[in-house]
């Protein structure tokens, strides 16, 4: 009786795990839409705005130059995660793909700006946040 119950529970667990794994595979292979691109662009826009704010605070001596450099380094790693997320998106619509490529390029520019911010006296890059904002608005609504 107990053995039968155990088999039934094991079978149930197997079915649920199989269904979950299947759902994950289907979700992974599904072409990405504008929402997936928007998530990365919004994160990049926030990171660009943060770089701008960090440099303003550094100029006002509200944060030490060492803190600004190290925070820029952590931001650079966060940008790298968004950039690889964008690179991994599989998109079928040509117009959306063009926007993804543009976002990927801008992520590269942001990473460069963050690397520059880790050197003392680097110029600020407020324009990037605005450009990313424009790109986010250009994305079609799903």
């Amino acid at each position: 009786m107990r053995r039968r119950q155990a088999w039934r529970q094991a079978l149930g667990l197997l079915l649920v795990s199989g269904a979950l794994a299947g759902a994950c595979i289907v979700a992974e292979r599904r072409p990405a839409g504008p929402e997936e691109v928007r998530i990365h662009v919004a994160a990049l826009r926030s990171q660009a705005a943060e770089l701008d704010n960090l440099q303003t605070l550094e100029r006002q001596h509200c944060v030490t130059p060492a803190f600004a450099r190290r925070h820029a380094r952590q931001l650079e790693q966060a940008v790298a995660r968004e950039r690889s997320g964008l690179a991994a998106l599989h998109i079928e619509q040509p117009r959306l793909e063009a926007l993804r490529v543009q976002a990927h390029r801008m992520a590269g520019e942001l990473a460069t700006a963050l690397r520059a911010a880790q050197q003392r006296g680097a110029p600020s890059a407020p324009a990037l946040a605005r450009e990313l904002q424009g790109l986010e608005e250009a994305l079609p609504t799903s």
Binding site: A42, S46, C62, V63, H71
Partner: protein, 412 residues
Amino acid sequence: MNKAAELFLGILTAMGGFVEIGELTFTLGAGMHFGYQLLWITALGTVGIMVYCEMAGRVAAVRRRPVFTLIRERNGVATALLTLVAANLVSLLTCAAEIGGVALLWQLASGWPYRALLVGALAFLLVAVWLLPFEWIERVFGLGGLLLIVFVAAVWTLQPDWGDLAAGFVPRMPEVSSQRELLLCAYFGVALLSSIMLPYETYFYAAGGIEDGWSSDDIVTNRVVVVVGFALGALLSVALVALGTEYFGPRGIEPQLPGTAALAPASAFGTLGLVIAMLGLFFAFSGAAIETALSGAYNLAQFAGWPWGKAKRPRAAARFTLSWIAIFCAAMLIVMTGIDPVQVVEYSIILSVVVLPFTYFPVLMVARDKRVMGQHANGMLANTLGWFYLVAITLAALAAVPLFLLTHGGRG
């Protein structure tokens, strides 16, 4: 120590230990995205955690029964085992995120490599828990967490519209422009409730009552500490929502790193504000890492019937001691993979909501049972609030996973 001093320290400790990395992320994010619209959820969650910690503390004081022993007795072994696995997974993930948070803060202070600092953070936490007695762990990290008051002071300098802030405490339908935003708002609401009512807080609080040797005489202390300490702790949460609204929202910054949160006090008070904020965050994250690791070990020991407690010598509670060491090490290995600690927080918060009803139901059942609790059983108010919150968290638990999937983990 006299009763008044003990009460005062208990209140300050409860206040200082209120915020951890999950709450920091979600309160700032909620303010940044939705202004003060979700402030009422903060109040709702605070009263909820007061209600259930008071009950769990009272049961611990009167019957000296910790939460997981009750879960096993009331829910049966199979359900209790499921709850144990889920609760300890939540504790492990939360502990991982806190250790990651500590390493990120140390990296900002030292510039050393992140992975080396993760090992350093693990060593620091292991030594702290090994050497410090239970009440010193509570006090050092709880009182250190009080430095987060700098966030309240930063809000004061921003002079927000106090009328708008007060209006946020009134429950209402959010003003959003699209269905996507409505789903995101619902996700933040559920996550905010979960981050305040994290189940490990109840496990730790009740086990702590037993560690501190509470008896029926401590019921009033328990009530005052929970109500006053958590209410003051909620002030920190409100301040974080306000900073999200007033500082990060207008700048278009969604704080995803501990250092980002510290920029608001830095902007208000310069480098002194930055240093105080970073120290406060360090104590808050370290305290939460310790609480989650100990909670996981408490749960396991209470479920299996092993001897447990920090007051016992490690050899007298060997399996308990090994459990918290193992949880710390496993948590460190999770963040060592390079996964973003904030992403880990998001998973742990959502899993927490699912565990909440399984945790709180047995606490309510025992606390209201006159045969078990005698004259200290729940009154009408505690029963009404207990049932109300049980329904609320069950609804939140049902909505949590679909909302997580629909909003891509709360990212949009």
